[in-house]
Point group: C2
Chain length 117, copies 2
């Protein structure tokens, strides 16, 4: 599944940093590796994971390789999260009150405080 690969790819902080860097535009493998205190093969592996998820594309360009961010999988992941949000924003509060009414235990967050942002 694409979602699985995408979320797993984004789970690693190094790979997220790579994606963030690619947000400033395409970059070579070397320049992507530079900020990270690890060997080049490690970066190669991370890029393979990102590429397998479809998040980045790699194009040979002379003797360097240029990596570019690919939109589709990130968009798909965002959509999945957005679908979940349809719930939290609206339904959550109502359902929790239903639960709370049945047994007023110390779950204490339903009526007095709201940590929404």
């Amino acid at each position: 599944m694409t979602l699985e690969r995408t979320f797993r790819a984004l789970a690693d902080p190094t790979r997220r940093a790579i994606v963030e860097q690619l947000g400033s535009g395409p970059a070579t493998v070397g320049s992507l590796a530079a900020p990270h205190p690890m060997s080049l093969p490690a970066i190669t592996k991370h890029l393979r994971v990102l590429e397998a998820a479809g998040v980045v594309r790699r194009d040979r360009r002379g003797r360097t390789i240029v990596c570019t961010l690919e939109a589709a999988p990130l968009r798909e992941a965002e959509s999945w999260l957005a679908d979940r949000r349809l719930f939290w924003s609206a339904t959550l509060d109502r359902l929790e009150r239903l639960l709370g009414a049945d047994s007023p235990a110390d779950r204490g967050h339903a009526d007095t405080k709201e940590q929404d942002g």
Copy 2:
């Protein structure tokens, strides 16, 4: 980092299914386990991962345990993706043209070839 735990939690299909089910409202551990062809301890572990990420909350309720979806981490993950999107939608095309102008090799995504999959 919260983002790391959140993305890692969502990387597993079973855990995503749990989150989706919780989108219909709070549920007991048993009812969350029912749809999945695995043992209860496996589900317990998945719930611990989701709880560690702050994605679900567990409240004892008699001899059952009610799990509820928690908004904050999902919102944070969605925000991270949304920030990335600021790039793909607008800047990508322009940057790629800059790159392409420098050396018109067959980076071929614009008009001729497309190996996307």
